[in-house]
């Protein structure tokens, strides 16, 4: 019952189209590409990049992961254990590992939550959408850069000097670092917010603060929440590093299983972190879905 369209689809009307890429775009693009290439070539040589080394040495990874079972030329037979199969002893590894994970989550959680207010302030000051006063904009970005550049371990040392060790200095170190990172991420998310409502409120005489609260934040809330959860996830993993400066948590035990050559135990802990990260990710997906309109 179909009725063929009268027009022949294969011979539609045509008109000359403009050049695909303008001469100027081509020139700029070429220059940028050449520059990037040169920089990468330099970096390639500097980092002694060598895919052949990787191809030849892949057994090393294999041995690390699955152990070694090798007979040497002299007839000697060597077997070592690898990371797999993982250590499944409940009482010695898995159960304590859950406890360590819990502390790790606590550290990450406190570090993230404590940094929210300051992050928000820096984000609002560091976004062009919400801060139209250039000196303050640049100041906020500079402070964030400085705070961000200082490694978390240096913060941890500073606060250990103040309050001794344990999880507490780790939390403060994380929180300060996180203010800088989350502030930056949030400010850039705000930059990408739909400018329409912002303009509408600004033209109605709303102040920068009011524009931020009543136009930008509701628009970018899912982004901010996603980034918050991403930082929570990162902070949980960071306390893996801070663990090594006395902050406790599972990182410490990962490192110590490595020193004890118990890669299977290490892998058990890593798997527990994997489970943790997956759980946080599920939470993130679920929350973002709930928050999205329509």
């Amino acid at each position: 019952m179909t009725l063929a369209p009268l027009r022949e689809p294969s011979t539609p009307e045509r008109r000359t189209a403009p050049r695909r890429v303008s001469q100027r775009t081509l020139a700029i693009g070429g220059t940028v590409a050449a520059g990037l290439l040169a920089v990468h070539w330099y970096a390639w040589t500097q980092t002694e990049f060598s895919l052949t080394a990787l191809a030849e040495g892949w057994q090393g990874i294999w041995h690390f992961l699955f152990g070694r079972d090798q007979t040497y030329p002299n007839g000697h037979h060597v077997t070592t254990e690898g990371a797999f199969p993982i250590d499944t002893s409940w009482g010695e590894t898995i159960r304590p590992g859950i406890g360590y994970c819990l502390l790790t989550v606590c550290i990450g959680l406190m570090g993230t939550t404590l940094s929210i207010p300051a992050s928000l302030v820096f984000a609002v000051l560091g976004s062009r959408t919400t801060n139209r006063f250039p000196p303050l904009f640049w100041l906020a970005r500079a402070v964030m850069s400085v705070l961000r550049a200082v490694p978390e371990t240096v913060y941890a040392l500073m606060f250990i000097a103040a309050v001794g060790f344990g999880a507490f200095p780790g939390v403060i170190a994380l929180a300060i670092h996180n203010v800088a990172v989350m502030g930056k991420l949030w400010s850039e998310a705000m930059d990408e917010a739909d400018q329409g409502p912002v303009e509408a409120l600004r033209s109605a005489g709303a102040s920068s603060y009011q524009t931020a609260v009543h136009a930008v934040l509701p628009t970018v809330m899912p982004s901010l929440l996603g980034l918050l959860l991403y930082r929570f996830d990162t902070n949980v993993r960071s306390s893996v590093i801070l663990g090594t400066v006395g902050a406790g948590g599972i990182g410490f035990y990962i490192k110590q299983s490595v020193s004890g050559f118990r890669f299977d135990t290490m892998m058990t802990y890593v798997c527990q972190v994997v489970v943790l990260v997956i759980l946080i990710d599920l939470l993130s997906v679920w929350l973002r879905k709930r928050l999205a309109l329509t």
């Binding site: 179909t2 027009r7 009307e13 045509r14 189209a17």
Partner: protein, 263 residues
Amino acid sequence: MPRLTTSARQLDTIDRGAPMLQIDGLTKRYGATSVLDGFAMSVAAGEVVSLLGANGSGKSTSLRCVVGLSRPDGGTITVDGVPAVDGRPIPDVAMVFQRIHLVPRRSVIDNVCAGALGRLDLARSWSTLGFPAELREEAMACLHRVGLADRATEKAGRLSGGQQQRVAVARALCQRAKVLLADEPVSALDPAAAEQVMRLLRSLADEDGIAVAAVLHQPDLARRHSDRMIGLMHGRSAFDLPAGAVDDATIEALYRPDAEAER
């Protein structure tokens, strides 16, 4: 405002019997409120049908159900005899959106070319650089038809509201679909441009045998350019009449009850 006479319709040269788009018993609820409640309409090849109704009466919703962007709660949709699969877009149906929905950072011509994506394989659509020259020429022709060929290389976001709406029409043209759904395609257009776009829709039906359904808020325009007019009220069609048979009282009744309900 001066009335421009519509170009002579070539109604009899095309077989207009077969419905190209057929909607039956369409139902759609959002939570407790029922938006569509057994809505039915059909559009034949070469026919221009205009869809009228008060704000919020469900015109956009019904069109969105046809292209698979809203999931109907009940009813059937058939395009060219083939039933639509729930939530699957139909390349044979092109839509001009009420909110326009161009990609603001892309050039006008690239936006128009994107309408043809459904018939391009990966090799010719991996990026805008892959678009074949023929497609770009066809897109230029579509832009000519809406009077915007001179703005082809500009970023779509830079155009005025009315210009963007015409680009959206051009994009739909470039899809070469058998059914064209246009959701208020002339709302942001000046009167001359609106006439031009409506004549364009008319000619698509007349010359190319396309089935056109347009949501319009201007009954005059609808009467002048469409074959049939359908009034949507309370989730179903209140009338479905040849354009000539729609009188002012019918129109007035269409908009009045809702206006009262909203007070």
